[in-house]
Symmetry: C2
Subunit: 368 residues, 2 copies
């Protein structure tokens, strides 16, 4: 357990690129995508519990997902479930948690960890968080960056700058800058240079520091969140405050709202995380994750899958009890659900998001 | 109407290479594969009715399909439905019809037409049958061969020999020999030589001639069928005779049992059929049929299909109301049914038959 540390799990995104597995009513974080037997959300909780303790992990999620989240996390205290009345991006979600927890305890250090990422290597993860908290105590916002294992064009990168001398955090450094998803040549250069890390979207900071930076760069968002936090623990006042304030908050990702401007001011630090990490962003990444490099295999996800495959590779996700036969299809993606079927290839996995858009536009939102 | 002519439609095969569309309880001939709005069986009936009349078309089918066949062909008289107690290949099926019809009318000329082929061009079809019947009156067994439009390796070929001089049949010729499905080079040669025709499995002959040839080359089969035919129209005797004789009959295709040996004896003639013909044997051929050469299109079969496709080509068969999204898959074959799903490519369409074998062997025959 880390003294004074509070974990925050924003559980907001649906994971459109994993449609029709991920749905509005069954978002990515509720699925077992790693074959661990647990949902990604539960895996996230289990990773954080030894660090924060069961009473100091909060989840920020939509009202519609409250029951599902509580079913996944039976140990979560009521006052640690922060419900959004509608999705307003990560700066509002994490900022809300920061403001509430800061209101309850002005000295709290919070760490925000996505509900729907995959991490393997619990001890190394914990060691990275411990270092990050040490650096956060010095007043930095700290991110954990993943040393790249390949020139991925699907992730953003963090450029490591000057080393920081902090007791208990031998690997800490300043962040020189954030970079958006690069093209392949740039990504290759980043990997070769060895001072670029994948941005895993993990942020650890004193809540007060996070809020200060937010006040500087997003004053309207900050003001709204502080006002909301002040009435959050008052059962009478919370509802009206949420209804009045939440819909007015700017929709912006925490990277743009806080991390990038803080990096420019020299207040952002990074600690490397030497664990396996993936955001499981699309079916190509899910395939790689499940097949663990055995390129000629067919990865199968679904406890009741009845599969007959012949010279097939890629991924099959089965949520029905149908017999599924795949013959001579390579790098295929087949997602079989009771009301929707997707057939594509790992190469085209990114295009699934536009399928979801088209379904919305053509009045078939019933399957989203 | 052609005087003395009786049409026979053997409706026995399941069409395994069209699984999971074709099933034991929903064989290929019961499906509308051409988008005509009718089943292949009904289309076959409609083509033959002007030639034979509604009272002179018989169907040979399995007991299990009786109700479905009668639903498709409400005009068929009871005495024209010949039920097999179990499948015994085409020589037994067509031979049974020949023997029964010959027993009823020794002078009858019969023509056998598969229940599950596609033919476009009704007038040209009728003209070919009329010629064939003229040649049959001279004591030949006559087949209708299709001038090949491409070097198909999926069909057998008929080599045309010497011309025959028959009144009313200007295009008739002797058959020199039958050839099995060739390889591509041989098929190319056949097409170039212009005297090879596709074997469409159509046979027209006096029933007496067909039975004589059968007696010569398959005496056991002939004896059994003649005995069976003798008691067929006796309601008391038929059942026991079927139970006793049918299971003992040799299982053999009519091509081997009768057509090939008859060709060697110079008793087989051919008339060219200048109509579009396809046996719709697998999903590659079905795709070609439906897309009519528009190679970059996705052919869709299924009245209620809810499809969203992006850069997809091939065929989608939808028998459910699910939303189906195909993204970036070329020459794909997707067959979506309530209890089974097939994903393959037109290139591998022939392998579907082995899928069916595997399903049998692995105890998943419930979806066959």
């Amino acid at each position: 357990m880390i003294e004074g540390f509070y974990a925050v799990i924003p559980a907001g995104g649906i994971g459109s690129r994993l449609w029709p597995l991920s749905r509005a009513d069954a978002p990515k974080f509720l699925h077992d995508l790693t074959g661990s037997g647990n949902s990604l959300l539960r895996d996230t909780w289990d990773r954080l519990e030894p660090l924060a303790g069961p009473d100091r992990i909060s989840v920020v999620t939509g009202r519609a997902h409250r029951a599902a989240v509580e079913a996944q996390l039976p140990g979560i205290p009521d006052h640690n479930v922060f419900l959004e009345s509608e999705p307003r991006e990560s700066a509002a979600a994490i900022g809300l948690a920061a403001a509430i927890l800061h209101h309850r305890d002005p000295d709290v250090i919070i760490g925000s960890f996505a509900a729907d990422h995959m991490i393997r290597g619990t001890q190394v993860f914990q060691w990275a968080v411990q270092q990050a908290v040490q650096v956060a105590r010095e007043g930095y916002i700290v991110t954990i960056g993943i040393p790249p294992t390949e020139p991925s064009v699907g992730f953003g990168y963090i450029k490591r700058g000057e080393e920081l001398v902090v007791e208990g955090a031998p690997e800490a450094a300043l962040v020189e800058r954030f970079v958006e998803k690069p093209d392949l040549d740039t990504a290759r250069m980043y990997v070769a240079e060895r001072n670029y890390l994948w941005n895993a979207g993990i942020f650890i900071a004193k809540a007060s520091v996070l809020l200060e930076e937010m006040a500087l760069h997003q004053p309207a968002l900050h003001a709204g969140l502080v006002e909301l936090a002040a009435s959050w623990d008052d059962r009478e006042a919370r509802g009206p405050a949420v209804d009045r304030i939440w819909p007015t908050l700017p929709k912006i990702a925490i990277d743009y709202a806080v991390a990038e401007p803080a990096a420019e001011r020299g207040r952002l630090a990074v600690v490397p995380g030497h664990f396996d990490w993936d955001d499981v962003g699309d079916f190509a990444s899910l395939t790689k994750l499940i097949s663990q490099g055995r390129k000629n295999d067919l990865a199968v996800l679904g406890p009741n899958a009845r599969v007959l495959s012949d010279a097939a590779s890629g991924i099959l996700v089965s949520q029905t009890s149908r017999v599924i036969s795949l013959v001579g299809v390579r790098d295929i993606v087949v997602v079989d659900t009771p009301d929707a079927l997707l057939v594509t290839t790992t190469e085209h996995a990114q295009r699934v998001k536009s399928v979801v858009e088209s379904l919305k536009l053509t009045g078939r939102g019933d399957v989203l």
